[in-house]
């Protein structure tokens, strides 16, 4: 089983990202589960969402404490939330940032990867909404999900031009991670 924890702020689409990841994983032939860390959601407040994927049906219902992967949508969260908490040593944390991974002092032995998702989102989607871009980066960096499955899930959820642009941004983030041989 692979467990993914997504950190974001209310309004950044962390819950949607977790759901899209679950839909894409299922399209890849895996069982999946996605759920938010249920709170009284407020725009801007730190939020978490979770996705599990496995070859067998998933029964476990607890939150995720020892993730294989962590996605951070907003690097300023790192100052207020222990985003690397419990992250497995052979795991990976993907941060939306213009800076090099060495810019972040994280309490983890896991691999730290950065991608300037905000820039990609602004250029291609036209808005600084990075959730789908980071899923593209996740696919490229971890190989745990097919980029086509993510793109299909996004296009289905956001039909028309919005979906198309998101798919393009996903592909770009995916390619960047592949080229960087993360």
């Amino acid at each position: 089983m692979k467990e993914i924890r997504i950190h974001g702020r209310g309004g950044q689409g962390s819950v949607t990202a977790a759901e899209l990841l679950a839909v894409a994983a299922f399209a890849d032939g895996k069982f999946s589960q996605a759920f938010p860390a249920f709170g009284v959601e407020r725009r801007g407040a730190p939020v978490q969402a979770f996705t599990r994927m496995d070859d067998a049906p998933i029964r476990l219902r607890s939150q995720i404490y020892e993730p294989d992967y962590v996605i951070v949508q907003d690097p300023t969260l790192i100052e207020v939330v222990d985003v690397a908490s419990g992250l497995k040593e052979d795991g990976m944390i993907i941060i939306n940032s213009e800076f090099d991974p060495s810019a972040f002092k994280l309490n983890t032995k896991a691999k730290v990867v950065t991608v300037n998702a905000t820039k990609i989102a602004l250029e291609i989607i036209g808005r600084p909404i990075v959730n789908t871009v980071l899923l593209g980066a996740f696919a490229g960096a971890t190989g745990n999900i097919e980029p086509e499955s993510i793109k299909e899930a996004v296009k289905k959820r956001f039909p028309g031009k919005v979906g198309e642009r998101n798919a393009e941004a996903i592909q770009q983030a995916y390619d960047m991670m592949k080229e960087a041989k993360v």
């Binding site: 996605a34 249920f38 219902r61 607890s62 939150q63 404490y65």
Partner: protein, 404 residues
């Protein structure tokens, strides 16, 4: 879940729990829906209003109301004229319905209601436990608890079948854990319309309000008659014991999925320790059991699907060879320091030969996350009970002593 043959992944879609339930209600072809939105039930009624607005549920009226009390009251009138009725609520909403709940069961109305289980105020808490439904234990509603999304959806169709059976005619609460199930996305098979039509035929009420054939519902029953009404309600509950099993078996024959009838067993065959629980915690317990079984711990699970009627015989049979039983409750009877399931399991053993020690754990109050490590601790304490007897009969789990 037991399936006929392989799990049919090609039939599954990844949807939110609330959608899976709303869809299940849709294919059950209700005639009247009335509900008042309340977190975490809201997505179910939003889904249903959308279906009705889109014309996807024929011959169905959605009645907007100003409270849960009115929601269920509107269904009393609707059910009296023979409509198949549905509602959904949670927590304070369910507690506000309290008086009407008795009326529904007393008038023998087969209304089905999803209870998206949530803690009760005060303090305000929107997260999951079972206090809301357990507090309505004696209202004469059948209470079924679902383990996952597929079961919550499938149970909805089973609920109508059980409720509308002429030997039952009692309302049913389908209980699903708030957020943990209502807001999770996972793959499910959405109930097929054709199969559901075959499984659940059109509701043919025995008695209806009809000016051509005047009849009264819920009239005065003086001391000469009241006892017999209560007696017959109890008989109906006893009949439901078999009908719940039948509904699950028939569902398996037609849809190929089975989650147990009154109860379900997991690894109980040779188990020294048997955990007993209801709802979504069952999944986490199963994973914990698999982990401990690899280390040679003989532990199993008895999942209780039907809390009312209480399946005493099924429970007694399932735990007859256990050396210790640990009951997990997401509720508490304040002043007794016990969860309801624990109290009742102890009670049903009292006049029997079985002297198995039974211990109780109150867990997951107000959405406190339940981790595998907590379940492991409970199992490890159960091992100690097996070796040296009961030290604490019933206790809170995961109390943060430092903030008391």
């Amino acid at each position: 879940m037991v399936t006929k043959g392989k799990l049919e992944m090609e039939k599954m879609v990844v949807v939110e729990g609330s959608y899976a339930v709303a869809h299940a209600v849709k294919v059950c072809r209700p005639n009247v829906i009335s509900a008042y939105p309340i977190t975490p039930q809201t997505h179910i009624v939003e889904g249903l209003s959308q279906f009705i607005a889109d014309g996807e549920i024929q011959n169905c009226e959605y009645i907007n109301v100003e409270s849960e009390f009115s929601a269920l009251s509107a269904l009393v009138g609707s059910s009296a004229v023979g409509a198949r009725c549905y509602s959904a609520t949670t927590s304070q909403g369910l507690e506000l319905m309290h008086e009407v709940l008795f009326n529904v069961s007393g008038m023998r109305m087969p209304i089905v209601m999803t209870v998206v289980n949530r803690a009760v105020s005060a303090p305000i808490n929107i997260w999951n436990d079972h206090q809301d439904a357990i507090s309505q234990r004696d209202t004469g509603w059948i209470q079924l608890y679902a383990e996952d999304l597929q079961e919550a959806a499938d149970m909805t169709a089973q609920a109508f079948k059980i409720a509308e059976d002429e030997e039952v005619l009692m309302p049913v609460m389908v209980c699903m854990d708030g957020f943990i199930l209502s807001h999770v996305y996972e793959p499910v098979v959405l109930l097929e319309q054709e199969l559901t039509d075959e499984y659940l035929p059109t509701y043919k009420p025995l008695n209806i309000l009809d000016p051509k054939k005047p009849m009264s519902f819920g009239t005065l029953a003086d001391p000469n008659y009241y006892t017999e009404f209560r007696y017959l309600q109890q008989k109906a509950m006893e009949n439901a014991l078999k009908k719940i099993e039948d509904a699950a078996n028939e569902f398996y024959d037609m849809f190929g999925r089975y989650y147990g009838g009154l109860t379900d067993k997991y690894q109980t065959g040779d188990a020294d320790i048997i955990l007993v629980a209801m709802g979504s915690i069952v999944g986490t317990i199963k994973d914990t059991i698999d982990k401990l079984r690899q280390k040679g711990v003989k532990v199993g699970l008895l999942k209780v699907r039907s809390f009312r009627p209480f399946p005493a015989e099924a429970i007694k049979e399932a735990i007859k060879d256990a050396k210790v039983v640990a009951v997990l409750d997401k509720n508490i009877s304040l002043g007794l320091n016990e969860g309801a399931l624990f109290t009742e399991i102890k009670s049903c053993l009292y006049n029997t030969e079985n002297r198995v020690p039974v211990v109780g754990y109150m867990i997951g109050h107000g959405g406190r996350d339940i981790r595998m490590s907590t379940i492991e601790n409970i199992i490890s304490e159960a091992q100690e009970v097996m070796e040296s007897g009961i030290r604490k009969e019933s206790q809170f789990t995961d109390v943060r002593e430092e903030i008391l």
